[in-house]
Symmetry: C2
């Protein structure tokens, strides 16, 4: 099994689309265009795998090829362990990945069991066969910027708005393109010219400025003209951010995506010339960490100054605030994390990273759906802008796919519309519809998605289990429960689902149930925590929540 | 809601039996005959609750009364949080109790969240509405003794065999009756006359002997005559066991159920007269613990001597061996725990604590089923003996119910037979069929059910999650996932299911699927761990296990 690629076209390898769909999506996760290390079956996110071993992969494929439409395959941490008779309305595949009894849920025990061949790290969409490449992080960043715009300025359209950030690495490098797609003018500081060059080459960042004055002039001019623009500046954030404060330069949004969660390898201290950082790190890590801590303190002090200057500042999940507080800066937590600030209000309405993939392999199928959804949601500014620009800016990886954050009510509308397009033949083969595990009702993760819930329920893990059980009951095509995705072993429990749109009436009924129930659990979970936005969404959507004050 | 009692008879309060069944079983769990502290909604097992609060209980009842047959109610730690449209073949209730993100899975965090009203301890069958009173522990003990007989003497019939044990407390008190039901002559040592009196009063123990000589004479005579007999002796095990060794008195089986897991309150040191134990415990706990440790060492040293004398000795899950080793006895672990020794071989064949309850409330319904199952399994010696004696020895608590350990293949046979009895009217109203979470495929619990798995997979928790997802897919009537049952928060993950037998063809189809799949996951889990018994059972039962060497 080398150079894996999912089958394309409308001819079946498996016995029906119900089983062809998971087969193609499993193989697609391991397509070299999609997976980071396909030979090791690693899809993304550290060691997130699609199958436990090459043997297990072959056994899953063989089983899916013969599976009947009233049977269900059980996958235990990437290995196929059983086939049982269920019924046609039940899922075809049920997956449990990386789960440990809590008192044993450490990386060391996990690695021991992994080495013994007993488990596998599934991350979120790696082991549940619905990863679609880097489009996800781009759209997530776009969504975050737009949500900030909506919250602070009443519109997701950031035209005329300015953003300051740092870090153009693997994930942070999505910021300039996400910002310009949202209409903004953004200044991106990175200390490493290679990170800047990579983003210039793929056109994720528009231009590089030679000096801070030059960079500021370009950003200000673009914002004044309401022209989207991304400008990279080589520099150290711990120097540049305080300098901007000293000059009194305001930005509408300020954030940071240096890899400060790991200060030794991910954060370069300002006192050390970039060229000497690697040497010092190797020679004297203790000294390196001291200097990094000092720089992080200066960096976050400037972020806090921006707060006082009236900018909207947020932490982007890299623990920069935590490092600064550890370094002695008391006020470090005076600005919020991105989840409570911007993502949670979306979760309250069941909005999250919805996505679909064309099993045909034909990009035209995605184009047809893009157009149909733009027609279906004419008033969704954010969706309109995203779907207008994504086709030009996002290269497909593996099977053509699209991500688009949609909420309770809209997901079922979109799903039924897609199924109808398959039915009438405008889309050439069935489509799968799924989402990330990082979603409204499907994750318990106190360091990220459920950080600082207003009722203190961050660590309650009943919710993702109920989500998985309900998606199974509602008839999703495959359902998964994982542990440790995003924030590591011990720190999260989360669930996934994918449902097939093959144009049949049966699929329409399943889509209706699953795409109502699945985001519905997100509204439910946030309503139970007392969020007014969720209670409003529940009322508006007619949700049936027996204990909620509706 | 005081003095709760489930409705009886064949008239519906809810809209169908699908919803009447969980309603009656929830209320039955809180019947004062069944529950330990019904006012606090505590059913059994410390603080194992059926609902989070009286408000939550009322809301569950209200919701079940109106729930339609294509809807599913979600219960989050004893509180009803949502109703979603699923379909007629899906479960009516999905339950997740006490689950925490692993790194937060401690008693202290759990109690904090419980006090904040956000969670509830569900134990195993308390929060999943299928507790049936003390019949469970009696039958589990009977099953363990019989399994030991089968393993060591080739027959579950212990007629003519002798057993030595200690501890006649809440759980240990089931030993004398379980032993006599299995045919054995048993000597039970307890230091507390009140524990003995309680068991004499309920006829769980037949007689008390005044001296060790007297006790031995009675036990030996009964065994010689192949007459079942239980004899209590007041004494301290740490004195009596070594004395028996010194006298060269052999027993076929030797075990112990003093509450040694908590030596300060559960184990009385030999050096302290019983009447003074409470005083010393209060005055000088440190001294008490030293003396208890010395006694436990003497007690276990005698157990090890029994091993050398050719007796079959096993630990009954009270950590007596661990305390002895902590006290310095190196050889303490020279005899096995009861799960790896006797229960696991049953789990390999999908055998576990299967049970059913008559929703009619009519004991005659259980009698009809008892007779039918005896006719159905004429060669199952253990079942024959149990079902012959249980009606006379076991008083029903709440709705009449029966527990009987059955395995893969037999469960589906029994379920279909029961459904047929309902269909033809020999049983007067529908019956629910379920099981404990302590079962073959439904629990990960490294200190108990999955201790010392031969492949080292004790802590892998994918299995109970797959079990719950599959039971949901197969169409059980309600399905539950819990955390912390049996061995406490952090130490277990487990799943439950209950399925309705209402005599319809639809119920027959669901029973067929669920009662095949559910024990099937147990055979699967043990086959995956490499147990030969499980691989044999999989071959014999025609299980479809894609990765197993079948
Ligand atoms: N919680 C979330 O959902 C989420 C989402 C995206 C990113 N993140 C976090 O964002 C961070 C970035 O992730 P990544 O994959 O892009 O990391 P990366 O290591 O690929 O990139 C980090 C970049 O920061 C630059 N950098 C380091 N120190 C600097 C300094 N002092 N000044 C200017 N630039 C500096 C580096 O040159 C590099 O280009 C991580 O901490 C990640 O965990 C979190
Ligand atoms: N793992 C399992 O599945 C499982 C099943 C059943 C019981 N257990 C364990 O068995 C133990 C007993 O449970 P219980 O509910 O009956 O406890 P309990 O506290 O109700 O009863 C303990 C009894 O032991 C007697 N006792 C204490 N020290 C003694 C001594 N030195 N000599 C003689 N008698 C002595 C007490 O008088 C009392 O009657 C517990 O440790 C429990 O955890 C485990």
């Amino acid at each position: 099994l080398s150079a894996i690629r999912a089958p394309r076209g409308s001819a079946l390898s498996a016995r029906s689309w119900q089983t062809e769909a998971p087969l193609r999506m499993l193989l697609n996760n391991l397509d070299p265009e999609v997976a980071e290390h396909p030979q090791e079956l690693v899809v993304y996110g550290g060691s997130g795998r699609a199958a436990r071993s090459h043997d297990a992969l072959r056994a899953i494929v063989r089983t899916l090829l013969r599976l009947a439409d009233d049977e269900t395959l059980l996958v235990q941490s990437g290995k196929p362990v059983g086939v049982f008779r269920t019924h046609e309305g039940a899922p075809r595949v049920l997956i449990a990945n990386s789960l440990l009894v809590p008192a044993w849920a450490s990386w060391s025990e996990f690695r021991r069991l992994e080495a013994a061949g007993l488990t596998m790290f599934g991350q979120m969409t790696a082991g549940s066969w619905i990863y679609i490449g880097t489009q996800g992080i781009l759209q997530g960043t776009y969504q975050t910027f737009c949500a900030a715009g909506e919250r602070h300025f009443g519109s997701p359209d950031l035209s005329g708005r300015t953003i300051l950030t740092a870090g153009l690495g693997g994930m942070g490098g999505a910021q300039p393109l996400a910002a310009t797609m949202a209409g903004a003018a953004i200044l991106c500081v990175d200390v490493d010219q290679r990170s800047i060059d990579r983003r210039l080459a793929t056109r994720y960042v528009d231009e590089q400025a030679g000096t801070l004055d030059d960079a500021l002039a370009r950003v200000r001019a673009a914002a004044a003209a309401r022209r989207p623009l991304s400008v990279a500046l080589r520099g150290n954030a711990a120097d540049v951010f305080p300098e901007l404060v000293a000059r009194g330069e305001r930005f509408d949004l300020v954030t940071d995506q240096t890899a400060a969660h790991d200060p030794l390898t991910g954060y370069v201290p300002a006192e050390v010339p970039f060229e000497e950082a690697a040497g010092l790190r190797a020679r004297d890590p203790q000294r390196y960490l001291e200097l990094a801590s000092q720089s992080i303190v200066a960096h976050v002090r400037a972020m806090c100054d921006f707060v006082r200057m009236g900018c909207y500042v947020f932490d982007y999940g890299n623990n920069l605030r935590g490092e600064a507080r550890a370094g002695g800066l008391e006020e470090a937590f005076s600005y919020p994390g991105f989840v409570p600030a911007y993502i949670r209000p979306l979760f309250c309405r069941g909005i999250g990273p919805f996505r679909w993939a064309a099993l045909s392999g034909d990009p035209a199928d995605i184009a047809v759906i893009d157009r149909a959804l733009r027609a279906l949601f004419p008033d969704d500014v954010l969706l309109q802008r995203w779907l207008a620009m994504a086709p030009g800016k996002v290269a497909f990886q593996g099977l053509p796919a699209r991500i688009c954050w949609l909420g309770y009510g809209d997901r079922v509308k979109a799903g039924l519309a897609i199924n109808e397009l398959v039915r009438v033949g405008e889309v050439s083969a069935p489509v799968v519809i799924g989402r990330d595990h990082l979603d409204s009702g499907s994750v318990a993760s106190p360091y990220r998605e459920t950080e600082a819930m207003q009722d203190g329920s961050d660590a309650i893990a009943d919710w993702p289990i109920l989500n998985a059980l309900l998606n199974t009951a509602a008839g999703a095509t495959w359902v998964s429960v994982h542990h440790g995705g995003g924030v590591g072993i011990g720190n999260s429990i989360h669930a996934g689902m994918v449902v097939l749109a093959d144009g049949t009436a049966d699929a329409a009924a399943r889509l209706e149930r699953v795409l109502t129930a699945d985001p519905g659990t997100g509204v439910m979970r946030h309503a139970d925590a007392g969020y007014e936005e969720a209670l409003d969404a529940a009322r508006a959507g007619g949700l049936d929540l027996p204990s909620a004050p509706l």
